[in-house]
Amino acid sequence: MFKKILAILTALAMLLSLTAAFAESEAHNPVTISYYSTQAGVDEETVATLNEFMKEYPWITVNYYPCGDDQLAAWLALYSANTAPTVSLLDCGQILNYSDYMMDLTKAEDPSFFNHVLSGTDFFQKEGDSAIYGIPGSYQGFSLLYNKTIVKKVFGDDFNVDTVNTVDKLVEFFDKIEAAGYPSTVVFSADWALGAHYLGCQLFSEWLGDKATQRQVMADLKAGNYKLIENEHFNHLMDVFDILMARNVNKADPLADTQEGDLEMLAHGKVATMFQGDWNWLMIRNFENIDELGIMHLPLTNDENDARNLKILGSCPKGYCVDTYQNTPEQQAAGVLLAQWLALSPAGEDFMVRLIGSTLPFDNVTAVNENPLAVSTQEYLNAGRILDCSTYLCEAPTDFWLMVGPMMQKYLAGQTDRAGLAEEIQEYFADLD
């Protein structure tokens, strides 16, 4: 008897939920939107995640546009074909470059989802504009990746990397690692890594001063009346680069390395450190027998009271934006739903954290990150030890890395000196339109 009642109650509950879902679906007009993602290599998983969304919002149909190698070119081609994606996961710089075509998400019907975003919205804002054009898609940390297994072997299990808080102590740290028979560092020589991450993000960061100072330096460089070689921070940055260069395991042929080769050395304990970011986990996780890894700060001065020496660089490189140029208001409303769902729903978070290995700057993250580098980033983020480099990422010319990266390569290969490098960077800025 009890079983019969239970069966009837279950059937009734199912009927009610179905009716509710049907009623909700009936309350909305069907709408078809599209989603373009620059997160390459995870198309099947993206489609599965979008299917989850469509189950939750049955009146919305989402067409997926995967990116190819030419992420921006493919995205622009969709605009040319009058099929602009409703929601796009794009680099923050691109979102700001094309903000004229994007929705100010603070003006969405219900922008309360921003209450869950702990940091990173400034990466999607323009100078002097309160509008926010993107929801952060992930948070990424970068500085000195290090092999914890080596560090534990050399310094003991209890070693705290926070004791490496000055340049002199960094040198001492490297010396001890080398004395134990391990190469201390590898300098990854790709133009984008040297141009954007080492120089761009660190130069136009809070090391240079507050945001107004950073903007002023950039403006002065564009105006052609700034001597970079006389800037103290630039010199600190290059002093540390000299240290890294001198200890580079590839210094005999510094431009012949590859990202995969350098990461493999780091992951397999053939080198102790490498200046890069937590996104490299996507490549590292394909290796076998990976050592314990983490991220630590890169001190730039000998002032042990300078808190910036204990910070890593952090950014929100990608965000979800909603097109207003070729999508109807109904599509835009559905797009906002999708964007916030991708960012903040358990399924969206699971996708970003478990699959991509990213840190998320949100207050409700429950997904467990298997990326040890992102775990380090999260620790620095929680401790508020993040260097703000949004000025570079949002306001520097889009081709900075392309033009300055080769100049840094030249410096790395010993083909120019610091003064020559500074001069070339100044010429680049002065030549901008």
Partner: protein
């Protein structure tokens, strides 16, 4: 008034000519004209409104030293690739039209690099230059091979020429094979009877007879070399420090990294004019030397 026969002719013309004309217009002519128009504008890649700025993009391009440096490097690369790929293609063509055992198998094997995509091939060769040759050099103690060719500006250019020629020669070989196959056997026989040695037969009989093939091969090699993009992107990506950035890669970067679409289009138009003039001159002069039977 058209007769029934006249209508039939027109119907046939429309049936065969219009689809091809439509494709040619939409895929070639209209984009080409649109590109020329873009070169006179400041455009962000999306807007349907264009800001006309006259010849400002052309003036900027002419005043940008990096454009000319890139063009100069493309010229050097083109000379190297055209010469090497044609020599290799000619030699392979000659070899594979001789009475070599298993020549069909060789033809297939040698043609394979041309089937592999430029990007994939660039990455394969990048690995070989960075890890293969350097390991060999280090183990044999050959200093010049111990460091990667791709990390030195001059040697990176040589590497680019070598890989491009290796790929292109396979394609040219097929054209040269066709050319050599069409040389009448009686001409070769007659030359031999007259006492010509192998070199004499090659230089005075075969070569004049395959000049149409030479014309085509030179034309193809020049155009493909000037337009090189995929191998440049995947093998050196313009490096080290921008020393191998060919003009097509520069145009791409100007458009999709610097987001200067008008400027990129102006560079493309200038490149088109240069390639068109060189190709027409080359075709004119080599065709004049062709032997008419």
């Amino acid at each position: 008034m058209l007769t029934r026969r006249g209508w039939d002719t027109w119907k046939l013309i429309l049936l065969f000519f219009c689809p091809a004309l439509f494709i040619w217009l939409t895929a070639m002519v209209i984009p080409f004209l649109y590109g020329i128009f873009i070169s006179f504008t400041k455009w962000d890649g999306i807007a349907t409104e264009y800001t006309l700025i006259g010849t400002a993009n052309y003036v900027k391009v002419f005043n940008t030293s990096k454009f000319w440096i890139s063009l100069q490097k493309t010229g050097i690369y083109t000379v190297g690739t055209v010469v090497l790929s044609n020599l290799l293609g000619l030699m392979l063509g000659l070899l594979l039209t001789s009475s070599l055992k298993g020549r069909n198998a060789f033809r297939t094997a040698i043609y394979v690099p041309n089937v592999v995509g430029g990007v994939a091939m660039g990455y394969i060769w990048q690995y070989i230059f960075s890890y293969g040759f350097t390991r060999i050099g280090q183990s044999l103690g050959i200093e010049s091979l111990s460091t990667s060719m791709l990390s030195d500006p001059n040697r990176a250019m040589v590497a680019l020429v070598l890989v491009s020629s290796w790929q292109l020669s396979a394609y040219l070989m097929i054209i040269y094979v066709a050319g050599f196959t069409n040389v009448p056997g009686e001409l070769v026989e007659a030359a031999r009877v007259d006492g010509a040695n192998s070199w004499g037969v090659f230089w005075h009989v075969r070569m004049p007879m395959i000049r149409p093939s030479v014309t085509i091969c030179l034309f193809l090699a020049i155009v493909r070399s000037f337009m090189v993009f995929d191998i440049n992107l995947s093998l050196t990506d313009g490096g080290p420090f921008g020393s191998t950035e060919m003009i097509a890669l520069r145009i791409y970067n100007t458009a999709f990294v610097s987001l200067k679409f008008g400027n990129a289009q102006a560079q493309a138009v200038i490149l088109f004019l240069i390639v068109a003039v060189i190709s027409v001159l080359q075709a004119y002069f080599t065709q004049r030397r062709e032997v008419q039977m």
